[in-house]
Symmetry: C2
Subunit: 253 residues, 2 copies
Amino acid sequence: MKNSSVLFAFYNLLIRHYERWEVIEKGKLMEGAGRGGKTTAKRRPRERVLQRDPERTRAAILEAATQEFAENGMGGARVDAIAERAGTNKRMLYHYFGDKEQLYLHVLEEAYVGIRTAERALHIGDRSPEEGISDLALFTWRYFLKHPEFLSLLGTENLHRARWLRQSVRLKELHSHLLGELEQVLERGKKAGVFIDSADPLNVYLTIASLGYFYLSNQYTLSTIFGRELAQPENIDAWERQIVHVTLASIKA
Amino acid sequence: MKNSSVLFAFYNLLIRHYERWEVIEKGKLMEGAGRGGKTTAKRRPRERVLQRDPERTRAAILEAATQEFAENGMGGARVDAIAERAGTNKRMLYHYFGDKEQLYLHVLEEAYVGIRTAERALHIGDRSPEEGISDLALFTWRYFLKHPEFLSLLGTENLHRARWLRQSVRLKELHSHLLGELEQVLERGKKAGVFIDSADPLNVYLTIASLGYFYLSNQYTLSTIFGRELAQPENIDAWERQIVHVTLASIKA
DNA sequence: CCGGCCAGTAACTAAACAGTTACTTTGATG
DNA sequence: CATCAAAGTAACTGTTTAGTTACTGGCCGG
């Protein structure tokens, strides 16, 4: 048995490299390969039809990457898995997005654009101050509920202390609108005497987001330790009412 | 230049394996290596003194693993990095904990035991109902503030839908105490007419935990998008007051 | 006082990984 | 209708990774 593992490994290496050599030689014979410097073999004819639709491929990669990053985080996501989910291959992914990190940043930016765009369409200033606040709370909760991948991406990005989001140039102005509109609603409520003077737009938004985010993003450990299934529809509905109740109670005059 | 890269790779492999061979032969000559089946070389005399302190080594690995998992998540954590941080090596890690997943589960269990043990020492039932609730809120917030690694581990575990926590047998009974004591405090408050009848222990705890968890775990993205530094001491203090205010406002009669 | 067992070490390995190379296919344009 | 750039493919590479192997050294019970 002496040295047998080493011998075996060596043998395997020889075999592997000889096979490769053989393929190279065959390739040269078969296709002539006149251009200098080419060392690889003739490829088998491919079966899959070429898509030739750059926009669709790009979108498919982005969608697949969103799923993969949301499910596995930045460290756990696999580039091969993204390519396969998108029905394409790695080369295209690198072609359109540069590398894994830039792809991840695109996914993150897209996710933020998604929620902020939907939020703008709310126009919380159009109703009474109380309705405006409760509509914002309901919207935020229901958006989180419908987009678990968004919560997951936020979690991943925060694990890395916003390392990639910080580099984003697109997202700075996207958020000032939200706080501005919220401030106007609070001001109107204060003048009408329904909100306390200390009500602050950032605090109100953080309260709403906290209550929604924590319940959903931590539902798995919470359900486990408290032995109650938080994903059950009746519990989901009860928490929705709790969010609106808590938010309004915290600013009511 | 034809085939030069292949030739070069092949050459390197030969060199590498010849060197290894040489070492093996030398090893045999130098130490006799009488015992059959041994194929590896003589090791250099080691410089580090043997610790021979199993408890200390175990604890060091657990501490190092907590840091590494908290900073990089389950997918991003590196077993080599843990061993190095602990001042030991991988073999010991596998010796004491089996594999990466079991080590992670130990870290997670330890983290939960930590917070629940500290929580018990609070005895929130000893004061007035309002004080009990605000003390629980303050304790939870300050514990989160002091133990960012706990928040991080929760986030990682939830990304994986409590895959490992679900397997834990130690943790089921650890949490019933908390809800039981909280329920008693709420009951006393209801009888005294200071809390609303609908106040529910799980909802109250989730509210407190939500407000603390979200602010801290998401501080990096929030600071980036809103352009306000949430980690600033004055902002931290303001949020502590907000948590107590919101929690009490949501249950006050 | 010695032999076996447990703490500890470091080199090793197979597999997985991000990223690259070396090509082929297709359609639009001059 | 030739050509050229963009779209697409798949095999390949260097490196990293979790996990293993093959050892060494010290202590304790017989």
